[in-house]
């Protein structure tokens, strides 16, 4: 069986800067994969390439065995890629449920069905009580959950989460972790970018570590955290020797 998502030899250059060089990763159906790495490793760039913000300078991206390299973001959503934004992008003048309805309309243009679907998703994400509140009135952790809810309403096969657990209190982060687990239980594959290792490591099935735009290591989270190369990338060579 082919992987759900695959990147083959992906390069992204911004002028002279190489943000991703020859990145080939794959994500299998039903997996939770963590994309980690220190700041500036090229995580967000790769994430945006997969989400369809821009085409890569070189290389191809495949979803479900189809080449989606040239497919724009809108169409990728239709094909089953949902995403959140690192800097939350709520529709601020709309209510919480209206935000989610926008996502639900991809699958059903019948308004009542879309509204019902949106409410179900809000219940799933624990935001149902805030359905009629303006998105601008939500607290930061709720806005993160709204991002997830909106993406889930599009019924994705693959959910891309961009640092949804970063900057939350431990309790909020724990709720977030549980939400991601429940998302996977519904059959959605998850690829998440994070740089807070201690939160993501217990959650993910597999971790891919990027450093300086390249795949450094990939494997089970327990192995990855002990890998000297990873420690070196995060903390510098001196610590790697000690480990």
């Amino acid at each position: 069986m082919t992987a759900l998502l695959e990147t083959r030899g992906v390069w992204q250059r911004f002028g002279g800067l190489v943000a991703n060089s020859d990145v080939s990763i794959s994500v299998g159906r039903g997996e939770i994969v963590g994309l980690i790495g220190p700041n500036g490793a090229g995580k967000s760039t790769l994430f945006n390439l997969i989400a369809g913000v821009r085409p890569p300078t070189q290389g191809t991206i495949w979803l479900d065995g189809e080449d989606i390299t040239a497919t724009p973001a809108t169409e990728r959503c239709r094909r089953g890629i949902g995403r959140t934004f690192q800097v939350v992008k709520s529709f601020e003048t709309m209510t919480v449920i209206d935000n989610v309805i926008v996502g639900a309309l991809v699958r059903s243009t019948e308004m009542r069905a879309a509204r019902r679907k949106a409410f179900e998703v809000l219940e799933f994400c624990g935001l149902a009580a805030r359905a009629d509140v303006m998105a601008s009135e939500l607290i930061p952790s709720e806005k993160r959950r709204l991002e997830v809810a909106r993406a889930l309403a599009t019924e994705p096969k693959l959910l891309l989460l961009d640092e949804v657990l970063t900057g939350l209190t431990p309790l909020e982060a724990q709720t977030g972790v549980e939400l991601v687990r429940r998302v996977r239980e519904t059959g959605v594959t998850v690829l998440m970018v994070e740089h807070v290792m201690e939160i993501v490591m217990p959650l993910v099935d597999r971790a891919i570590v990027l450093d300086l735009g390249k795949v450094l290591v990939e494997g089970k989270p327990t192995d990855v955290v002990r890998d000297p190369k990873v420690i070196a990338a995060y903390l510098g060579d001196r610590h790697a020797v000690g480990a």
Partner: protein, 328 residues
């Protein structure tokens, strides 16, 4: 359940609108003064026009300051078809609407790629070019304009000399239709797409919204309805020239009620027009000929006051009250 309360709210809006229309329809029975009737006609017309503008400017967030173009096109197409080809104004109205919608699509193709203020600037420039073209276009009457000869009272020709009432009822009908179209669109895929595009185009795209297409849709519908208003105005005043239907002032007059009342809301344009149009008409007549431009000063002041105190428009006063009630 949640969708039930939503449906209730929408039904309440619809009933409220029906009550307003019924009340407005009765007003001429009591108000016989022609001058006041004239103000009422203009108020309703601007309510409808601003409602049309609000679809593109308010819901979709593409601030057009060139709607005088579509208003003028509606007026010109109707007047030209009637005076030169003997086409009944009803067909002229429809033709003007369709032509305007097509032109909005043609202009939208390049301009909807512009972001933020650049789009607004482009709309001003384009409308100004059209104004200059009509000012120099001899076949369309150039600066002299077009005089629509009024012969006998007739619904077919939409001409009435003795009474303003038919104009009043058509203006009411126009405002009601523009409101109804908005009401319907607000709860459709388009309405949601537009608001998403306005608030955050990147997020909208990631949720499957075709941003460019939704802007084009909003532009065409908005232009169509605006042209209907323009066609009505041509018949109402029975004389048009570029200055009186296509000048920049109309672009402002069309957008301001929505801005004042509450941009991107269902009731904002109506509320804004009801407050703004009588005030400006009255200032104009009280200060008289020497006060040319004073009405616009009044406008400006109102806008400044509203944007300082209630940035979400006059409608914000009501929703705040509603919220307080909800808390109690």
């Amino acid at each position: 359940m949640h969708d039930v309360t939503h449906a209730k709210q929408r039904r309440r809006d619809l009933i409220l609108a029906a009550v307003f229309v019924a009340l407005a329809a009765c007003v001429p029975l009591f108000v016989k003064d022609v001058y006041v009737q004239n103000i009422m006609v203009l108020t309703l017309m601007y309510a409808g026009l601003s409602q049309s503008w609000n679809i593109l400017g308010g819901y979709c967030g593409q601030i057009s300051l060139g709607h005088a173009l579509y208003f003028g096109l509606g007026a010109y197409v109707t007047a030209i078809l009637l005076t030169k080809f003997d086409v009944l104004p009803w067909f002229g109205m429809l033709t003007g609407g369709i032509i305007s919608a097509l032109i909005a699509l043609a202009l939208g193709y390049p301009t909807f790629r512009l972001g933020g203020h650049y789009f607004a600037i482009a709309t001003i420039v384009i409308a100004e070019i059209a104004y200059l073209l009509f000012l120099n276009w001899d076949w369309a009457g150039a600066a002299l304009g077009i005089d629509i000869m009024v012969r006998e009272d007739s619904w077919a020709k939409f001409q009435f000399t003795r009474s303003k009432l038919p104009y009043f009822y058509f203006a009411l009908f126009f405002a009601a239709v523009a409101w109804l179209v908005t009401w319907w669109l607000e709860n459709s895929k388009w309405g949601y797409w537009w608001r998403a595009v306005k608030d955050n185009p990147d997020a909208a795209e990631s949720l499957g919204v075709v941003v460019f297409k939704s802007k084009m849709g909003a532009g065409a519908i908005s232009a169509f309805l605006t042209a209907i208003g323009g066609a009505f105005y041509a018949m109402f005043v029975s004389y048009i020239d570029p200055e009186s239907v296509m000048s920049f002032q109309f672009s402002l007059l069309i957008s301001l009620p929505a801005v004042l009342g509450g941009i991107g809301t269902l009731w904002g344009p109506v509320l804004g027009a009801v407050v703004l149009i009588p005030v400006t008409e009255l200032t104009r007549s009280f200060i008289g000929g020497s006060g040319r431009g004073v009405d616009l000063i009044v406008y400006g002041s109102l806008i400044v006051i509203v944007s300082l105190t209630r940035p979400d428009g006059l409608l914000g006063l009501f929703s705040r009250k509603r919220k307080k009630e909800a808390v109690q």
